[in-house]
Symmetry: D2
Subunit: 193 residues, 4 copies
């Protein structure tokens, strides 16, 4: 293909010092290294009301939803690091999905998600690293048309896992995370050929 | 027991004409009939920001979270009708759980949820009635300490299912929904004995 | 109640030195201590063919299925320690469920499971202790009518976790496992009152 | 690529008149039409004991497991039609996975599954067509390294859905099922390029 595959990368958390923001940046360097163009965004820059059908009917899509959908539509892949809240997806990430899944005029259903390729990961202070949350995230993304790559990683004890510069202390883990990014890039290079 | 068991009933949707609001009211009459005191609330009356760790650290629990937690703490059961958005829990319901799960000083962990008994149900315009969403709702509630009763109901084609007065057209379904409420009441009467 | 609640306890593994067999025995002592009558069985003593609809139609229920169903029907609770194979339930446990769920003449549907109370747990040599398997086990049991208690435990690094006498090296873990058994006994004492 | 992608197709049921056997054959024609080489097998021809760690240690892999593993290793894709038993995967399919996941000498872990591409579907006499079972099947396959395509289909009321010749009465459904097969073929053609 003539153009590089484009991957949108973000964390399912808005906290400034979010471990998941750090993690998805590592995966992004892996994707860049494998030939993708990666756009890293922060959901904090796209504040949205909580989805409510009345609100949508009255005012249509909020402007930040429109902006985010436009970004999603121009990217073929996702790298997502999703914290686990109460054994499942975070509200902020689910809310983003719920708004972005609303069909705009002239769009195919689930245009933001259909046939996109995603790599998922998680970081959490607990001993499981957010693994149970990824079960739901994988299930949700798969159900809305995303090809979720089987490899995933859950970084346990995240409060002790990162160096000051944002890299992981465990070099082997760091490589695994980069590989998740690289794999999404590589499969997109083949699929978009 | 001297006092009636108290059940908090709500829908995981804020839309004014929400099918799930109608559904949970039917279940509530079943619980009342079986001897419980039911408080029906509307999550629309408890607007909350989307959970963000920075926000919590800066300002503590928002006042509506505090109000809702106080309500939850004084009830022993839940009746919850949860719409399915993108095959899972709605953002507004997940956000409510994420805030209410935050431990306040002097509270046991997950005090709002631990050992509470819940009956769950769903209504949706689609052919499955929100059944896949209930899989995640059941899993999340179970993981935070709620005893989720095995019987559940998913009302398919919800836009055609209700009478003007909010009852279900299908009398058998109406009875099943009431039974879900009654069962939560009955088990609470035994457990709190 | 005049009679003690009866709890059937087993592991979802047939291996002779199964960690899950050890674990469920610990939980059983907790249940006995709390006033229940516990029957510990070994699925190895109930060998069954893999469920096949043709087989059932031709020969009816195999005799070991019939024996196990009869046992299940006379118990009100379950203690189940289920190993995780490939992130889910073991084939031997799923096969047991599939046969036991077949409706015999004169029985209500799912008579072996409906409204039974279960405590679930898992042990595994891996770092997660079988936690992902319990997600599926909880979901399956809930869907066939079992009230699955929210508390569960997953013993990681199971090959290092047990003493020679079958107790757990970590006294706190041992107590947690016993408590799972005790809780099932206690809730049954209330429910059957 | 010089050689056609090879896809192994089977049903998670051994019953002679299994709806899932019919369904997977339809998907297979879709895959063949899109340029794949499809091998349709019947799990009935690979009878295996229920997985037991002692058995494996004593006798190694049963010969049918070895045969099936060899088949899997020479195919890059799967088409699987999996019946829903008790809201989850069938014992016979789970048992097949559990045996095939055992690592033989010289093999990479999960060699039979890693990076394979799968299309999944289900047929069932019930109103949901086996949809809840597919939730577990998708989760299990994803966790052992399979890229599960997002599109899936669940044929409800399967006892009324098929013509005598094994095609589906509903032409649109028939096309959807074929498309699931075709999509696996197409993605393999790109990935193996």
């Amino acid at each position: 293909m003539l153009t590089k595959p484009k991957i949108l990368a973000f964390a399912g958390s808005t906290r400034t010092d979010s471990y998941n923001k750090k993690l998805v940046k590592i995966a992004s360097t892996g994707a860049t290294g494998a030939g993708a163009d990666v756009t890293v965004i922060d959901l904090r820059d796209f504040p949205m009301p909580i989805y409510d059908g009345d609100l949508e009917q009255k005012d249509g899509l909020p402007s930040n939803v429109r902006k985010l959908k436009d970004l999603m539509l121009t990217h073929q892949g996702f790298l997502i690091s999703s914290p686990e809240y109460n054994s499942s997806i975070s509200a902020v990430f689910k809310n983003t999905i719920d708004w972005a899944s609303r069909q705009s005029e002239g769009e195919i259903p689930l245009a933001c998600f259909k046939n996109k390729v995603a790599g998922i990961m998680s970081a959490s202070p607990g001993g499981l690293g957010g693994l149970r949350g990824l079960v739901h995230v994988r299930s949700i993304l798969g159900n809305i048309g995303v090809i979720v790559m089987p490899d995933q990683i859950a970084i346990a004890k995240a409060h002790e896992a990162f160096n000051e510069d944002g890299t992981l202390k465990d070099k082997k883990q760091e490589d695994q995370v980069k590989k998740i990014g690289a794999n999404v890039a590589k499969i997109l290079l083949k699929l978009n050929d």
